[in-house]
C-alpha cells in the first residue's frame, strides 16, 4: 500500500513535469484518491479514430506496480479489442505481460498504438473483429468512424 502510493506519487510528479511531452495524452489523477486516474487520449491520425478524444478510466490496485492498473474506455469505441459495452481492453500488458517497467503514461501510449493496430484475432468485440478478419476493412472503418463521430467528438450546437 505504502509502496504503491509512493510510486504513484512519483508518476504524478513525472506527469506534471512532462506535461507537454506528449500532446496526445492528458493524464490526470483524482484529487482525493491517488488510486483513481483518468486520461483523455487523441485518436491516432490516419485511423477511423482520428479527430476523436477518448476518455480512459484507471483503477489502480494496492499491489501496483507489481499488478497492472485496470483500464477501460469510458468513451464508446468500435474496436476489435475493446468491449463494446464495458469498455474493457484486451491488451497483453494489462494482463499477463504487465511489468513495473510500464507506467500509466506508457500504458496510454500502448493503448493509442492498439487503436492504430487492432488485433482482430483476439477480439472482445466480435462484430468488429469479424469485419476485419473477413477482410471487410471498409465496413470496419465506416463503423469505427461513425462511433467516433457519435461518441468521441464534441456535439455541434
Amino acid at each position: 500500500m505504502q509502496s504503491s502510493r509512493a510510486r504513484l506519487f512519483k508518476e504524478y510528479k513525472e506527469v506534471q513535469r512532462e506535461k507537454s511531452a506528449d500532446p496526445d495524452i492528458q493524464l490526470t489523477c483524482d484529487e482525493s484518491n491517488i488510486f483513481k486516474w483518468s486520461a483523455f487520449i487523441n485518436g491516432p491520425s490516419e485511423t477511423p479514430y482520428e479527430g476523436g478524444v477518448f476518455q480512459l478510466a484507471f483503477a489502480i490496485p494496492e499491489q501496483y506496480p507489481l499488478l497492472p492498473p485496470q483500464v477501460r474506455f469510458l468513451t464508446k469505441i468500435f474496436h476489435p479489442n475493446v468491449h463494446f459495452k464495458t469498455g474493457e481492453i484486451c491488451l497483453d500488458i494489462l494482463k499477463n505481460a504487465w511489468s513495473p517497467a510500464w507506467t500509466l503514461q506508457s500504458v496510454c501510449r500502448a493503448i493509442i498504438a492498439l487503436m492504430a493496430h487492432p488485433e482482430p484475432d483476439s477480439p472482445l468485440n466480435c462484430d468488429s473483429g469479424n469485419l476485419l478478419r473477413s477482410g471487410d476493412h471498409r465496413g470496419y472503418k465506416s463503423m469505427a468512424k461513425m462511433y467516433t463521430k457519435l461518441a468521441a467528438m464534441p456535439k455541434k450546437a
Binding site: S3, K85, E88, K95, N96, P100
Partner: protein
C-alpha cells in the same frame, strides 16, 4: 502460471475435470492461454448472443478466479519453504521411474538438503535471492557485499542508459540493498535465518526482490543484445526487445538459460544448476556452472574481488532444476 500448478500438483487436474460443464469462466481460468484465444474459432450458434454471454465473464472475473486458485495453492507451498532432507524428494517420486529414484540417491551423496520454492514462474529468481542472501548471512563476506554493490551500481546505470525511467525501478533496487545490508551483520542488527525466511515468504519483500532481479536481468540482456540475440532467436523466435518484455520483465515469466546467464553476468555471481530428470542416457546427475564473464568496467573498478571469482569458481548459489522448476540445494 496455472498450467504449471497443474504440472506440480496433479490433483489440480481432477479439480479441472470436475469443473467441466460449469461456467465457461471457470474452465478458462484453469488454462494458461489468454482467454481471448477461446473466442477465436467457430462462430457462435444462431440464436445465442455471444456478446451477451461473454459480458458475464469479464477478464477481471477470470483473473480474480485465477488469483483465488493461486491463493489456495499458496497455503500449500510458501514462496520459500523450510529446509528439508534431500531424500524428501524420493517420497515425491515414489511411484515414479526407478531412474529418478536412483538419481536422487546419487544426488544425496553430494547434497544434504533441499529448500523448495513455489512454482509460480518466479522460482529461479526467488531461489537465487534466498540462496545468495543466506550465503551472505552465513559467510559475512564483506568483500562480496562490496563487490555486488558496485555491480548493482553498474546495473542501475545500464538501465538508465537504456532509457528506463529511474522511478520505475529504484524502489526495487533500494529494497534489495536493504535486504543485503540486513543479512550482512556488519551493520549491527540481530538478523538471523528465521528473519530471512520470514521476509522471503512475505510477498511485499520477496516479490520486490524478484522484480529487482528481473530488472537486472533485462538490463543485462538489452545492454549486450548482440551477444544474446542468437540465443533468443534460437529458443523463442522473438526479438530481444520482445523477449525481455514477455519473458523477463513480467512477474511470473519463467526463466531459462538466457536469464540465468544474464543474471549471473550482471551481478557477477556464479550459479550452479543441478539437473534432475528422467532421461536415461546417463545415470548421472549433471550440473552446469554459470560463471560470470569478466566485464571491463567491473574489473577496473573492483579488481580484487573479480580475481577472487577466478581463483575459486565453486559457486555458492546452487539450484536444483527439474523440468519447469527450480529449488534450492545445499551441498554436504
Amino acid at each position: 502460471m496455472v498450467k504449471n500448478l497443474v504440472y506440480f500438483f496433479p490433483h489440480l487436474r481432477s479439480m479441472q475435470n470436475s469443473r467441466e460443464g460449469e461456467s465457461p469462466a471457470a474452465e478458462l481460468a484453469l488454462e494458461n492461454k489468454p482467454i481471448t484465444e477461446y473466442m477465436v474459432g467457430p462462430a457462435p450458434l444462431e440464436g445465442t448472443n455471444f456478446d451477451e454471454d461473454w459480458a458475464c465473464y469479464r477478464d477481471d472475473d477470470v483473473i480474480r478466479q485465477q488469483d483465488a486458485i493461486q491463493a489456495v495453492e499458496a497455503e500449500k507451498i510458501p514462496l520459500v519453504g523450510d529446509k528439508e532432507h534431500i531424500l524428501a524428494l524420493a517420497e515425491e517420486f515414489q511411484s515414479g521411474s526407478p531412474v529418478i529414484q536412483s538419481k536422487i540417491k546419487l544426488l544425496s551423496e553430494k547434497y544434504s538438503n533441499l529448500r523448495r520454492t513455489r512454482g509460480d514462474g518466479n522460482c529461479f529468481f526467488r531461489g537465487f535471492m534466498f540462496s545468495y542472501l543466506e550465503h551472505i548471512l552465513d559467510s559475512q563476506d564483506g568483500s562480496e557485499v562490496d563487490r555486488i554493490q558496485s555491480s548493482i551500481v553498474q546495473c542501475k546505470k545500464a538501465l538508465q542508459d537504456l532509457g528506463y525511467a529511474e522511478f520505475t525501478f529504484e524502489d526495487f533496487f533500494m529494497l534489495f540493498i536493504e535486504q543485503l545490508q540486513c543479512v550482512f551483520n556488519g551493520h549491527g542488527d540481530s538478523y538471523g535465518h528465521d528473519e530471512l525466511l520470514k521476509r522471503s515468504q512475505d510477498p511485499s519483500v520477496s516479490n520486490y526482490v524478484v522484480m529487482f532481479l528481473r530488472f537486472v536481468t533485462t538490463g543485462e540482456i538489452r545492454r549486450r543484445s548482440d551477444f544474446y540475440e542468437p540465443f533468443i532467436l534460437g529458443i523463442s523466435d522473438s526479438s530481444v526487445d520482445q523477449f525481455c518484455k514477455t519473458a523477463v520483465e513480467p512477474m511470473g515469466a519463467e526463466s531459462d538459460q538466457v536469464q540465468i546467464i544474464a543474471l549471473s553476468d550482471a551481478l557477477g555471481v556464479p550459479i550452479r544448476v543441478v539437473y534432475l530428470d528422467g532421461s536415461t542416457t546417463s545415470l548421472e546427475v549433471n550440473h552446469h556452472d554459470f560463471i560470470p564473464t569478466l566485464q571491463d568496467e567491473k574489473t577496473q573498478s573492483n579488481e580484487g574481488s573479480e580475481s577472487k571469482i577466478n581463483q575459486s569458481p565453486e559457486p555458492f548459489v546452487t539450484l536444483l532444476y527439474r523440468p519447469g522448476h527450480y529449488d534450492i540445494l545445499y551441498a554436504k
